[in-house]
């Protein structure tokens, strides 16, 4: 059962990824990325990461993708029609992709898998275990993340404000 779920989700993710890089209209690229994210959230659930699954659906497939859709709707549906300046760019990038994928595959062959520390899988990845980790050992990075989000919000407001004379 889990095997079938894995292969269906993996096929969905790869198909969505191909869609992201091959659709002409940006809006279809965004919708393909939503497909990838939902497939990845299913894989997170398989890997017993319940909290990451929920965050992936709400924050990523929800908030970030809606932001992309808003911006595309704001800027108008620009299609890619003009040819690029480099004529061989697709072939060069295909060559690069093959070499890069071969490199990653070779690296994966050499991974030494350590035996797990035998944690209790019934609480692994729940809100409780995530919260304990986030608010005890990793409190400092967590607070830094909040500062990062505040900085990003202020920066976005500053960048997208209306030009006025009294600035």
């Amino acid at each position: 059962m889990a095997l079938a779920v894995f292969f269906v989700a993996a096929a969905m993710a790869v198909a969505g990824g191909v869609g992201v890089i091959s659709f002409r209209e940006p809006i279809r690229c965004v919708l393909s990325l939503v497909v990838v994210m939902i497939a990845l959230s299913i894989l997170f659930l398989l890997l017993s990461a319940q909290f990451v699954f929920v965050v992936q659906i709400i924050v990523y497939a929800g908030a970030v993708m809606v932001l992309f859709l808003f911006v595309i709707a704001l800027l108008g549906p620009a299609r890619e029609t003009a040819r690029g300046r480099l004529r061989f760019q697709p072939w060069l990038s295909a060559l690069f992709a093959l070499v890069f994928l071969g490199l990653l595959f070779t690296m994966l062959q050499g991974v030494q898998y350590r035996q797990p520390d035998k944690a209790d899988l019934s609480v692994f990845g729940t809100v409780q275990s995530i919260g304990v980790g986030l608010f005890t050992q990793y409190l400092y990075p967590f607070e830094l993340t909040s500062i990062l989000l505040l900085t990003a919000a202020i920066g976005a407001i500053y960048l997208s404000r209306k030009e006025t004379d009294d600035r």
Partner: protein, 109 residues
């Protein structure tokens, strides 16, 4: 050694890692091939998602929660990056119409 027992089925950690590698490569190709700046941002999001899958897969393999915490941090950074990148794009589009990232090459040496 690297086999995961999930719901009675035997899955291998390397399958998840291989899928993440394929998705990351697709994102890289997108950044190289596409010329619409918004689509390039979307491809960067695809690459970040692939890395998140790697983190969560290793977290499950080692049965250590830190990988999932790091994946959450990566999601936060990705959200901040998307917000600031899209704000910059909106600002550029307000000044002029850009349909190709090559139109923005005035700063090259």
């Amino acid at each position: 050694m690297s086999t995961l027992d999930i719901g009675g089925s035997q899955l291998d950690t390397s399958w998840f890692l291989l899928l993440a590698a394929v998705l990351f490569t697709l994102g890289t190709v997108g950044v190289l091939v596409r010329r619409n700046p918004i689509v390039i941002l979307i491809c960067i999001e695809l690459m970040l998602n692939a890395v998140n899958l790697t983190l969560v897969a290793f977290s499950r393999q080692l049965q250590n929660i830190e990988g999932q915490l790091f994946a959450l941090m990566a999601m936060t950074v990705a959200a901040a990056e998307a917000v600031v990148g899209l704000a910059i794009l909106v600002d550029i589009f307000r000044v002029r119409d850009v349909e190709d990232v090559d139109d923005l090459s005035e700063l090259k040496g």
